[in-house]
């Protein structure tokens, strides 16, 4: 049944697109203030060292320098971190990775600040670092944090793993390795902070979570949160990477110290060297199945290298381990996930959030099992796919919107067509077809999170929506406009959404975890509905008809083929605005710490991808000839935005599948976009298609659910399966650079 919406489901261009194409949109670095100073951070030259002394006097007297700060100058708490506040803003006793900040300089020009950094003398006692997470887990390893190198251990326990392995007809056991990935937002980190006239501070920043900027800046400055106001500037991408407000804290400290506005902007090398990345994993997985291809049991150890600080490590590995069985019902599971400290650059949130890594391992195992059992890989997946009766790894059974079997059915047809092209490879090249599936709980898994929205209806029928989920470029402000416009019966251009100002927009937690559409969409819809209901209650009394008989359209309340203008209603009742607030908190149960069992997400998104790849046997280069991404979105609020998210997510996934890996050798080695390569137009699949699956989610706004991260989740697995099929050697490590493919080609059995 399709519902006839006015603006929901329409490909409406984003509300800020015109400002962006005209070059008028203001990003953080486009913003400057009179008397502004420029700040720079001195970063550790060593991955593990004790700081003996920091000598700043020469820097202080350098021409143009206004202030130099070290840890002892911080007025509030010297710590930062989204979950555990374990990272010093400025290190004073130890540095734990090459890139840890030690001192700050404020100067009249950026150049003077940079020159002054070279005049700061740090005396280090260099200690032995550890980079390998498995070595860091061993007794006697260099200690990164005094509490031990295992930051977090999360578990899933279901059924009886040992006896299930005994009864399995086929068992496969492998180790998988995934890369450390950079978010690669094209706009580097930037913040401007200025003192206000009442002893507080105003922040203008590039951020995914303006309220976290407020929390951290106020803590570091020793102020109450109400004294700090954050304006999120137009943000040039985030992908999980703009959740820790380091630059904001540096700028705030320098503004506090100098009494002047301060700007801190990273250059690309600083961003690549110092900002957190996506966790690289070492995954040991063992899966058993019956002769008929029923998955019986899964055992896994997932070790995520969280680097020098906890960052979002705890939440990332929780997401991995709770998603370890993917889109399948597996009755017996024993999985242990660890976030392990090392002296590498910290790792935190990135699009995917631990799911792509687990998906790569599981989906590779599925193909290998299919081979052992002589069952078609898609058929094996179909035999084990979840439905509305079967529990996932956390024991959660979803009541609705689980279209995975239908999606696999569609993929099966596509795969048959793709396989016919395999034998048509030109000389010196081989082709293969691969499939990958994934599921993703929408919103936080580790703990519940809530969205709050305030809707204000104005006499002319237009409305203002305040909701703190900032738009990073994905178009959520436009979608929130559509939700409010649909509910209030106006066009999208009559809705103003304010998400970017902590003084106006309520805290909705971060823009992450594909949660905005589902959580904030619900909050906005509920708040708009409450406002509309208040209008109807008033008008129904005025005109003497039931509220259910009323409709609101273009600023007019319609009743019995008559209409009354909202402006008239407002005037008659001395109303200037009708405002209401609503919250949305999905019914969830966080995973139990000992068993991982619970019901951690309000809804899940499903993805099925298929690819045809061609491998050059001489160079090892991979060309993606065809790629199909089937994405389950519940209901597309805006098909244009859906396409943008899915194409973008797949391309990002192709990057980590084929080329991306942040190399750490003491510090980050590939700290430019010429050494850390991300996909360009030349890496586009030659034939690139999306299939949007709409099976409305009953708890979602107009049936919608989150999906944006999910489009990345199965890409590595899909490509690995296709390449394995092409070359006849299993892939166990990403990315599949030409060198790695060469190594694999050499492992091929001689004919």
């Amino acid at each position: 049944m399709s519902v006839d919406y006015r603006v929901i489901g329409k490909p409406i261009p984003r509300t800020d697109a015109r400002a962006k194409v005209l070059g008028q949109a203001k990003y953080g670095d486009d913003f400057s203030l009179p008397r502004m100073v420029f700040g720079k951070a001195l970063r550790s030259a060593h991955p593990n060292a004790r700081i003996r002394s920091v000598e700043v006097s020469r820097a202080r007297s350098h021409r143009g320098v206004i202030a130099v700060m070290t840890a002892q100058d911080i007025p509030g708490e010297n710590s930062i971190g989204p979950i555990i506040k374990d990272q010093p803003v400025l290190c004073h006793d130890f540095v734990r990775y090459t890139g840890d900040a030690i001192a700050l300089v404020a100067a009249e020009t950026e150049q003077a600040a940079e020159e002054a950094l070279t005049l700061i003398e740090v005396e280090y006692e260099v200690l032995t670092p550890v980079f390998d997470p498995l070595k860091a887990m061993e007794p006697g390893a260099p200690v990164v944090h005094s509490g031990g190198n295992i930051g977090t251990h999360m578990k899933v326990r279901r059924g009886d793993v040992e006896s299930a392995f005994q009864s399995a007809a086929a068992v496969v056991e492998r180790r998988f390795i995934t890369p450390r990935v950079e978010h690669g937002y094209i706009e580097p980190e930037v913040a401007v902070v200025a003192p206000d006239l009442e002893g507080g501070f105003t922040v203008w920043s590039s951020t995914q979570y303006a309220h976290l900027d407020r929390e951290e800046v106020s803590r570091v400055l020793g102020l109450s949160q109400s004294r700090v106001r954050v304006h999120q500037m137009v943000t040039g991408g985030g992908f999980g990477g703009k959740l820790n407000p380091h630059a904001q804290c540096y700028a705030a400290l320098l503004a506090w110290k100098t009494g002047r506005p301060a700007k801190v902007r990273y250059f690309r090398d600083e961003s690549l060297m110092a900002s957190y990345k996506c966790h690289p994993y070492v995954i040991d997985m063992k899966v058993g199945a019956s002769r008929e291809g029923k998955l019986l049991v899964l055992e896994a150890q997932l070790v995520g290298n969280t680097g020098a600080y906890a960052c979002q490590g705890r939440a990332v590995i929780t997401k991995s381990v709770t998603h370890v069985s993917g889109v399948y019902y597996i009755p017996n599971i024993k999985a242990d996930a660890y976030a392990v400290f090392t002296n590498a650059v910290p790792c935190g949130a990135m699009r995917g959030y631990g799911v792509p890594q687990a998906t790569f391992a599981l989906e590779s195992m599925l193909d290998e099992l299919a081979g052992r059992l002589g069952i078609d890989p898609v058929e094996l997946r179909l035999r084990n796919a979840l439905d509305t009766t079967l529990p996932n790894a956390t024991g959660q059974i979803l009541n609705a919107s689980v279209p995975i079997k239908a999606m696999l059915g569609r993929a099966k047809v596509e795969v048959v067509a793709l396989r016919q092209l395999v034998t048509q490879a030109p000389m010196g090249k081989v082709r293969g077809v691969g499939v990958g599936c994934s599921s993703r709980g929408i919103g936080s898994i580790r703990k519940a999170s809530r969205s709050t929205a305030v809707v204000s209806l104005h006499p002319d029928g237009s409305a203002t929506v305040a909701c703190g989920h900032v738009d990073l470029g994905q178009g959520s402000d436009t979608m929130m406009s559509q939700v409010a416009a649909e509910e209030l019966g106006v066009e999208v251009d009559r809705i103003r959404v304010v998400t970017n100002d902590t003084a106006i927009s309520p805290d909705c937690e971060s823009t992450s975890a594909s949660r905005v559409t589902y959580l904030s969409g619900n909050a906005v819809k509920k708040a708009a509905a409450k406002v509309k209901q208040r209008v109807f209650d008033i008008v129904s009394r005025d005109v003497g008809c039931a509220p259910e008989q009323l409709r609101l359209l273009n600023g007019v309340v319609a009743y019995r083929e008559q209409g009354i203008r909202l402006a008239e209603v407002f005037a008659r009742h001395t109303l200037h605005v009708i405002t209401d607030v609503a919250e949305y908190l999905p019914e969830t149960t966080p995973p139990d710490p000992e068993t991982g069992q619970g019901a951690p997400a309000g809804t899940f998104n499903f993805n099925v991808h298929a690819a045809l790849v061609e491998v050059d046997e001489g160079t090892g280069r991979i060309q993606v000839l065809k790629y199909l991404a089937l994405s389950d979105v519940g209901q597309a609020l805006n098909p244009m935005a859906v396409n943008g998210q899915v194409f973008g997510g797949v391309m990002m996934g192709l990057g980590s599948a084929l080329m991306e890996d942040v190399i750490v050798d003491n510090g980050v080695v590939n700290n430019t976009f010429s050494t850390y390569l991300i996909p360009t137009t030349c890496d586009l699949p030659l034939d690139f298609r999306i299939g949007v699956i709409e099976e409305p989610e009953p708890t979602g706004p107009f049936g919608a659910k989150g999906f944006a991260e999910g489009s990345l989740d199965p890409v590595g697995a899909t490509i690995a399966n296709a390449v394995s099929h092409a070359i006849g050697v299993r892939v166990h490590r990403l990315p599949l650079t030409s060198e790695r493919v060469h190594e694999l080609l050499r492992q091929r059995p001689l004919h």
Partner: protein, 160 residues
């Protein structure tokens, strides 16, 4: 060595004269000295293309050009592409095709595309790919950008 030097150039059709440090890049000059912040700075090493401007009709990374090298040149930036009343076909198709997400690559992407369409208003898909290969976008997966450039070419050729 950083003594200010005079720079006189034609910027978006108007003659502009100012001073620049000898080590000042064109992107810094445009953004910080002249306040034209539409051109973005993403890497400062010529790898991302966000700072692409038109320099005597050719697309260049303005982070790799010194401001003093632009003396006497004809420079066009996103601010000179079209205006709110009359969007350039590329601006229109970028909006219509959903080719703008975070928008940080958009000005550079459009300037690179403009240089292509100025030379070849009916480019093949491969020509579009190659012309944009130096402009990184992390949001869109390039698909909508490619179709926007294609559609803008059509508009410029007088089709619809």
């Amino acid at each position: 060595m950083n003594d200010p030097q005079r720079v006189c150039l034609t910027l978006n059709g108007r003659v502009v004269e100012d001073t620049a440090r000898s080590n000042e890049t064109l992107v810094e000059f445009l953004r910080y000295r002249l306040g034209l912040t539409g051109t973005k700075e993403g890497c400062d090493t010529g790898d991302c293309g966000a700072c692409t401007v038109s320099f005597d009709g050719k697309a260049v990374n303005s982070c790799l050009v010194l401001a003093v090298e632009a003396d006497g040149a004809d420079i066009r930036t996103v601010e000179g592409l079209g205006d709110a009343g009359q969007l350039h076909p590329l601006q229109q198709t970028f909006v219509d095709q959903g080719a703008v997400q975070c928008g940080f690559c958009t000005p550079g992407m459009m300037m690179a595309a403009k240089s292509l369409l100025d030379e070849q208003s009916n480019p093949s898909e491969d020509e579009i790919r190659l012309a944009l290969a130096g402009n990184l976008c992390r949001c869109t997966g390039y698909v909508s950008i490619m179709s926007a450039v294609n559609a803008a070419g059509k508009m410029l050729r007088g089709g619809k």
